[in-house]
């Protein structure tokens, strides 16, 4: 019994689902950001798996770009977290509703 691409795709789907669950259910802003990272990581796994099967390195390039964007996103997101915490004294996303119309 060898490992096929389906194994990797199913694992990627599972990780993505767990990340989406964390984004929906958790109330802590930092943990929501971490779950977003988990979702990005799962999609990277699918990219690399397809890249291996197709014998094409474009998927690897895409993953490099994705990791760069994730790093930039985390930096900006954590800057927002620090600013929000110093201003509102909480990170509960149910309390933070300034943007609600």
């Amino acid at each position: 019994m060898t490992v096929t691409i389906e194994h990797y795709l199913v694992l990627s789907a599972i990780l993505f689902i767990i990340g989406a669950y964390g984004v929906i259910v958790r109330k802590n802003l930092i943990i929501v950001l971490m779950s977003l990272e988990l979702m990005l990581n799962a999609s990277n796994l699918a990219f690399v798996a397809f890249s291996n099967v197709l014998g094409d390195l474009t998927g690897h390039i895409f993953v490099i770009m994705s990791i760069t964007v994730a790093a930039a996103e985390v930096a900006v997101g954590l800057a927002f977290v620090v600013t929000i915490y110093t201003h509102h004294e909480t990170l509960n996303i149910d309390v933070l509703r300034m943007l609600k119309g």
């Binding site: 990797y8 989406a20 988990l38 990581n41 291996n52 099967v53 014998g55 990791i67 994730a70 620090v82």
Partner: protein, 169 residues
């Protein structure tokens, strides 16, 4: 052998992500995310993506996680973060099963749509996925996106400095 490695590290990555979304302490969540990212790096090596695995450990498990841990410890969230997060268990299970259902449906559709290709994980000749192979593609075919990435990072740095310095009143 590869099968055993795959299953072991797939299990650790799933366990790490489950701890990430369920643990109350943000520090434990961050450390379990490190576990997940390391396991995924091992899976990348199994898929012959050596350079991606290296980048994963350096950037994700190194830089990004240090940033997360630094923020968690800087804000000292521990006692406050234990109070909220009060979604009821049936609601949690409902959301999880709904997501599983949707993703299972789309996975089924996707597997039907994939053209019949060789689905075995194959071992390519040497430059595939190494620094040499990826660099050759990155600096010839994808040079413009690579340069645009640097613009993105500069914008992100400037944005972070502006956001973190200003006091919103």
């Amino acid at each position: 052998m590869e099968t055993i490695i795959f299953y072991v590290f797939a299990a650790t990555s799933v366990i790490g992500s489950l701890v990430l979304v369920s643990h109350k302490n943000p520090v434990a969540s961050a450390l379990s995310l490190v576990l997940t990212l390391f396991s995924t790096a091992v899976l990348f090596i199994l898929l012959l993506a050596h350079f991606i695995a290296l980048i994963q450990v350096l950037v994700y498990a190194g830089a990004i996680m240090v940033l997360f841990l630094f923020t968690v410890m800087f804000l000292n969230l521990r006692d406050e973060s234990l109070r909220f997060d009060a979604v009821k268990v049936p609601v949690k299970l409902g959301i999880l099963s709904l997501l599983l259902l949707i993703s299972g449906y789309f996975t089924f559709i996707g597997f039907k749509k994939i053209p019949p290709l060789n689905t075995m994980v194959i071992s390519h000749p040497e430059p595939f996925g190494t620094v040499e192979g990826v660099g050759e593609v990155l600096f010839s075919d994808y040079l413009l996106p690579f340069e645009l990435t640097s613009v993105l990072i500069v914008v992100a740095i400037l944005g972070v400095v502006v956001i973190a310095k200003r006091r919103f009143d």
